[in-house]
Symmetry: C2
Subunit: 433 residues, 2 copies
Amino acid sequence: MKKALGIGLAGFGTVGSGVWETLEKNSELIQARTGVQVSINRIAVRDLTKAREGAAAELFTTDWQEVVNDDSVQMVVELIGGTTTAFDIVSSALKLGKPVVTGNKALLAERGAELFELSRQHNAPILFEAAIAGAIPIVKAIKDSFAGNRIESMAGIINGTSNYILERMTDAGLDYKVALAEAQELGYAEADPTLDVNGWDAAHKAILLTSLAHGFVIDPADVYVDGIEQVRGTDIAFAKNLGYVVKLLCVMHTRPDGAVELRTQASFISQKHILSSVNGVFNAVAVTGDAAGESLFYGRGAGKGPTASSVVGDIIELAQAMGQGSQPAGFLPYKPDGGLLPIEETETPYYVRFDVSDRPGVVADIAQVLAQHGIGISGTHSPVNSDDPDAEFVDMVFMLHTCPWGKLQATLSEVEKLDCINSAPVVFRIEAL
Amino acid sequence: MKKALGIGLAGFGTVGSGVWETLEKNSELIQARTGVQVSINRIAVRDLTKAREGAAAELFTTDWQEVVNDDSVQMVVELIGGTTTAFDIVSSALKLGKPVVTGNKALLAERGAELFELSRQHNAPILFEAAIAGAIPIVKAIKDSFAGNRIESMAGIINGTSNYILERMTDAGLDYKVALAEAQELGYAEADPTLDVNGWDAAHKAILLTSLAHGFVIDPADVYVDGIEQVRGTDIAFAKNLGYVVKLLCVMHTRPDGAVELRTQASFISQKHILSSVNGVFNAVAVTGDAAGESLFYGRGAGKGPTASSVVGDIIELAQAMGQGSQPAGFLPYKPDGGLLPIEETETPYYVRFDVSDRPGVVADIAQVLAQHGIGISGTHSPVNSDDPDAEFVDMVFMLHTCPWGKLQATLSEVEKLDCINSAPVVFRIEAL
């Protein structure tokens, strides 16, 4: 019998307690399968007075340093979230040479450069399967299973909250605000849903996936991110008529010259693509490797059990290797920065919605500016306001041919100057997957 | 710089040469990402006179023992297929303590008990990602990522040939034989397609997945397997009308008492389930774990690049661990046999097609036998032969309520004795996923 490897756990909220429960419930199975015996020896929490079901009271402390420094702790599992105390915990563990398991996408996307450097210096891996897409083993897929592949593209629906909201807008015709309120009521959206609906939760995950695929650390400031806050019923209906659905999509493309496109925005995707069937709080990532071809990984992207499943998978991987006196290979950046293609140079077709004053000549005015800049129009549409056929302001939709994002933005800022335009146009990409 | 780990390769056909090419093409990338340098040092083939693009002539031999015993060979990659010479190669390597990578599902499903025992005795892992579902990293998912989960169910479409044939029958209305001939012409089916269409190729993979999930070795003789040879246009049209599609489906269910159901047969699945969209030569496996919830893994199930991708992933995993003087955890059975539920005790609803003489009283006669055995009928249908409304023989279809397979078979053998029945009835399960 190997001796048990000791875990120090920071955080005993939904995921932390889920990890405790999973390790308890399936401990015999885990030991039989993997030869690994692990035990959570210390737990750091913010508030000792909360009820902590399951774990013994003496394991808890409010001092995370006690946990990290404890001699019975050989690996640290960080599940408190945020980028400040979490950073201190992870960096302290690494400096002691203790491997880290974390589910903290914001921490790694924002401060990964420092942490991966510490990981390298102290030869202590950081495992983060739980940081991306809940139970879906996408980190291991990219990092290990597809390690022999050049990753040509990825497309992900990796924020369940926004996906749920868009689905309800699509299927039940709900308004954005009503759908958001419903998601909050069901516990699918936080009281403060900002990071979910503005695209940044998804973008953090996409940044990490891109680092895994390409080996360089990405500065979030270099990444184009837009959310779903501007999506209206008009857009969804228009998409549907043309055979598309609207999804918050993270897209990564590797160009033949090695430059990497990365963006997160509300996008039109074909109803025929399998990603269009990813509904509710599910997540999915499509990956194309030069050898593997197209693959799709689909599953529960959040929640107690699914996230705990990934944390426990990482714990077991660590424990199996550490039991042999070795370590699993954690991700380490292997290329300098700078591979990201500026967003201005990325090209797709677009859907653009203008809020216009309904007077003769509007279409001609807009079309003329587009023509001056050489941007082709594949279709225009102005939905009739059936409640008020003589409404003063209407939505005017243009479908535009492929052109660079920078050119589109320059053109649109000129269109905006037309006196018939009432507010900034709304743009969604049409992504060919 | 770590020294390169040497590979001995057995087989240089489609997959073997694909592994060579992938390692060549992406060697710098692999080294940067993983710190691993591997080289194929010896290659065993049957026929030295065939052109071997890429690899140097002096690497080749027709004597596999030379390859396995070579001192420069630290791991053996078996890609020749079959269960005789392949067994000798794999067992010899294990006896020398050399880890093995294989894509040979038949070998492991038929002779896994012996090989895993050798793996245990000689402390040399067997890695076999490529044996199941081509590029899809389903072995690693079950064995590692979901190691903390009790696996509650799996459902797989894991034979691309039969899936392609069924798709063409469904979408283009082709006859079975025409669809099969087309698949052969396109290279999707072998000249001898027996194992693809009779279900055994898929069943071998399902046996391995079930062993991974539950830890016991399964005797293929204990597994119910049926293929797609009996599927007719009638069945597909009938399925479609009721909102189903016909798929060759591998199903594993874990009962609450721990008994395990495992079967491979042509089945009706709901058009709404994501597995129903798995078309062409793609594979997919849906997995439900007690913590992870539902997941789906989708990708290319066969072919040079996809299979090579998985072989190379395994090679890298081995090389990373061996470079640290350790080893990845290969699968080892951890439970005695005997957990499989006898097929007679498994229960689903069914679709049954009878070939009957068209005379008054046929429906009543069949229905009476079913009633005597307490099997409920949810619907019957007799498609009119529009070419010949007075045809003597017709198809008569019954949809039956859930009952044990054993009871159904006993009842059908009695129905068969009716003089209106012309041949053995054809049964497909209706699988609720």
